[in-house]
Amino acid sequence: MSSYSNTARLTEARRVAIFGGTHGNEMSGVTLVNLWMKNSDEIQRKGVEAKPFITNPKAVEKCTRYVDTDLNRAFTPENLSAPGGDELPYEVQRAQEINKVFGPKGSPEAYDVIFDLHNTTSNMGCTLILESSKDHFNLQMMNYIKKAIAPASCLVLLNEHPLLKYSTSRSVAKHPVGLEVGPQPQGVLRSNIFEAMRVILKHALDFIELFNEGMEFPSCSVEVFRVSERIDYPRDANGNIIAMVHPNLQDCDWEPLNPGDPMFQTFDGKTIHYQGSGTVYPTFINEAAYYEKQQAFVTTRRETLVASAIGKA
């Protein structure tokens, strides 16, 4: 545990993967990875092996989120060690294959960094998803990216919640980084969203190159939004949705939601208000894929993390 004035010495991040198509209908990642598989000039960096990879090719072919089960929830220890071969759901088989190539998860042989490219129908703008508040390499990378694209904004979502955290494709790596850019409908490729994701990856790879070449990054503060609670739609006894995200909340990802603010609107126009105990910052508001996961939005709380100074070991 390094003290405030010490630099954490970390190994070089040499093996880097860029995952697209973890959800087959999230088009920015699919398009970028296909582009880079054809011509990888743009992602070449000195001292970095950057491997673009389509994680869920069957889902990409059908332009659907998944075929049997959500690949981005499939990397649980149970799934990764499950016997059964071809009889396993497609995505569980894929998870095992991916774990073999880019992992094994938790081992020294695992890839150093995996960028997993996603889109959302929510108005989240550019979001980086962090899985651990103690990953100083990632925190420094995210700080670098935020500064590089300023004044354009790129926020950091931290999901360390014991119950709401999930086993992602990228979790196979030592430093998993989620890129979530929206709003974009599933199956649609928007130029502005595509280019925004491309720019974020450019800066991310620049950071890794600089780090590997020996640049030291001093300690810094990083503002994050920590996942707090999942809020579902109001439903009737049969599980059918009986209200919609309120127009005042729709598209207001990252804006404060205060107790008493409108949250849902019923089909006949009545307002349901947020009843929490304090101000929260909602995100993933009205994400298409989350209706079946019983989630209208998640609440987050703002926090400032301090990243240790880091340098190559």
Binding site: Q186, V245, N286, Y291
Partner: protein, 309 residues
């Protein structure tokens, strides 16, 4: 123009879920069914979930696009074991709400759709049918918070392929932008209001009101433009240009950018000035359509009233 009369419009059908992932229609029809709406004043209303299997899996269709199954040829094609679900369903709907082109068909069929394109509220007709055009004029005057436009498909009835062609006087209500599988409250409220205005208009019509003559502008599709594609793989090689994205109904002039390739080249519009519609509609990638191009036309409407026996 002399005033034109039409019989009372006493039976209508409101259809949702013709595409199972276009959520406004699905939920509006479900709500109407929950509240057992079957008659409002002089108008009897059938509410229909057109493609229940597609709705169940939240997909546009299961085997083939239901909203392309209503040509005369497909409606009369023999059913075998290999007939796709949607072709069978189209024939069921034709029996229930049609038959297409016959006296028994519903007076009016309103089919509710969403699009990922920034189309606002758009009514879609086949022919320059005065009844729906008067309804369009009425809705346009009543709804000022959202752009209300009309699109016309110049296709003879026998080739008319969509569900709304079953009714005697029909139109689709297309509202966007809304992603597939998403239910937005603002879009829901717009569609509900448009449907309410339509029913109010029908009440007034059936009670003997005359609707004044006038003029409306509508957009008639003349051609479609596909994405630039890789000649070998067929994969798209460019995205809709940011200056065209979300600019449905804004006049496109020669030299205006339409696509931005993944390697940074701009493709420009060539040819006559036209209006782009359905710009970047998700479902049209597989139909090889990046956007439609339309001419703007003015339709002169006579005054219309109900024919008294």
């Amino acid at each position: 123009m002399e005033s034109v009369s039409f019989p009372p419009q006493s039976s209508i059908a409101i259809c949702g879920g013709t595409h199972g992932n276009e959520m406004t229609g699905v939920y509006l029809v479900r709500e109407m069914q929950k509240h057992k709406v079957d008659k409002i004043g002089s108008v009897s209303i059938s509410t229909v979930l057109s493609n229940p299997r597609a709705v169940d899996v939240c997909r546009r269709y299961t085997e083939t696009d239901l909203n392309r199954c209503f040509t005369d040829a497909l409606l009369s094609s023999p059913i075998t074991d290999s007939t796709p679900y949607e072709v069978r369903r189209a024939q069921e709907l034709n029996a229930q709400l049609g038959p297409k082109g016959s006296e028994k068909a519903v007076d009016m069929l309103i089919d509710l759709h969403n699009t990922t394109a920034n189309m606002g509220l758009c009514l879609i007709f086949y022919t320059a049918d005065y009844l729906p055009l008067q309804i369009f004029k009425y809705i346009q005057n009543k709804m000022s918070s959202v752009p209300v436009r009309a699109m016309q498909l110049d296709i003879p009835l026998s080739d008319a392929y969509s569900l709304d062609s079953l009714g005697k006087h029909s139109f689709s209500i297309e509202v966007g932008p809304q992603p597939n599988g998403v239910l937005r409250a603002d879009i829901f409220n717009i569609v509900k209001e448009a449907v309410d205005h339509t029913i109010a208009w029908l009440q007034e019509f059936n009670s003997g009101s005359t609707f004044e003559a006038g003029e409306v502008e509508a957009f008639t599709v003349v051609k479609s433009v596909d994405y630039p594609r890789d000649p070998v793989t067929g994969e798209i090689s460019a995205a809709i240009h940011p200056q065209l994205q979300d600019n449905d109904f804004k006049l496109l002039k020669p030299g205006d950018p339409i696509f931005l390739s993944f390697t940074g080249e701009t493709v420009k519009h060539e040819g006559e000035e036209l209006y782009p519609l359905f710009v970047n509609e998700c479902a049209y990638y597989e139909k090889k359509i990046a956007f439609h191009l339309a001419q703007k036309r003015t339709f002169k409407l006579p005054s219309i009233h109900m024919k008294k026996d």
